[in-house]
Subunit: 158 residues, 2 copies
Amino acid sequence: MPTPSMEDYIEQIYILIEEKGYARVSDIAEALSVHPSSVTKMVQKLDKDEYLVYEKYRGLVLTTKGKKIGKRLVFRHDLLEQFLKTIGVKEENIYNDVEGIEHHLSWDSIDRIGDLVQFFEEDQNRIDALKDIQKQFFEEDQNRIDPIKEVQELKEQE
Amino acid sequence: MPTPSMEDYIEQIYILIEEKGYARVSDIAEALSVHPSSVTKMVQKLDKDEYLVYEKYRGLVLTTKGKKIGKRLVFRHDLLEQFLKTIGVKEENIYNDVEGIEHHLSWDSIDRIGDLVQFFEEDQNRIDALKDIQKQFFEEDQNRIDPIKEVQELKEQE
DNA sequence: ACTAAAAGTTTACTATAGAAAAAATAGAGT
DNA sequence: ACTCTATTTTTTCTATAGTAAACTTTTAGT
């Protein structure tokens, strides 16, 4: 089984190849915000585990196995983004959260989240009902004592 | 900010103290399935960062800061368990999945998931409607070609 | 109070993942 | 074909988190 970090690389390589036809070390490094030396190391491991074929200094191509897994990883990532968006998570938090959790959910959970997204897509009333609950909680929060001090305290602690 | 691993320890220590009044090194090691030597090392770091006061060979107590954070971590863990349970994730996957993702979600996402749990709790019809979608997908899956071979192939690849 | 067993700690080691700097290679322009 | 520059690789280093084994302290039973 690939480690979380290996999955990040496979996913990103898949996306790059889809988008521009190839994935060079520097492209991958750029996309994942890591140094090229880290990419080289990981790519050597991915070759050894047969997710891709790597020829040093020349480039790499995904194997059948690598492509199949890459496709599923991208699907999972997109689904999780859609899920968080649907339930109203702020755009600025979505990418990091998905990045953090995507490698840690069973396919059972992913499938159930897929159902859930479908559930909301099918009927706008459901989204509206959820928004109502959020508004209601928001109004309750407004009536708390010392909200600013609370937030500051919590930030200091973490 | 505490690392994921630190959070695991704080959360578990909080639970142990809540349950039996104290948390010894061996209790923590047992609960987290790590060796006592790992616990000692982490507890020293948590003392240094003032989540708890640690006296070697004697024991430890959470500071105010440690207690406040521990409480929130337990709340978050429980909420995520409830969320996965609500959407129909199998019991056997829930613990691992929560363990995997709990340290990687923003409080914004946690709050939105809280709203979502409330949304389903408020009205059993919503849960029923979700179950209908799941049944529908399940029936579609039944009509696929070669499902057993598919599953085997995917398992080999990971 | 003594001593054996249980509990806890220290030290030296493992693996993963990433970074920095130095070395190697490839490819473009002449 | 040559050489310069950009890209890539190697090597050495970092940090986190965990383990194994040797060591120390505490505690319970006599």
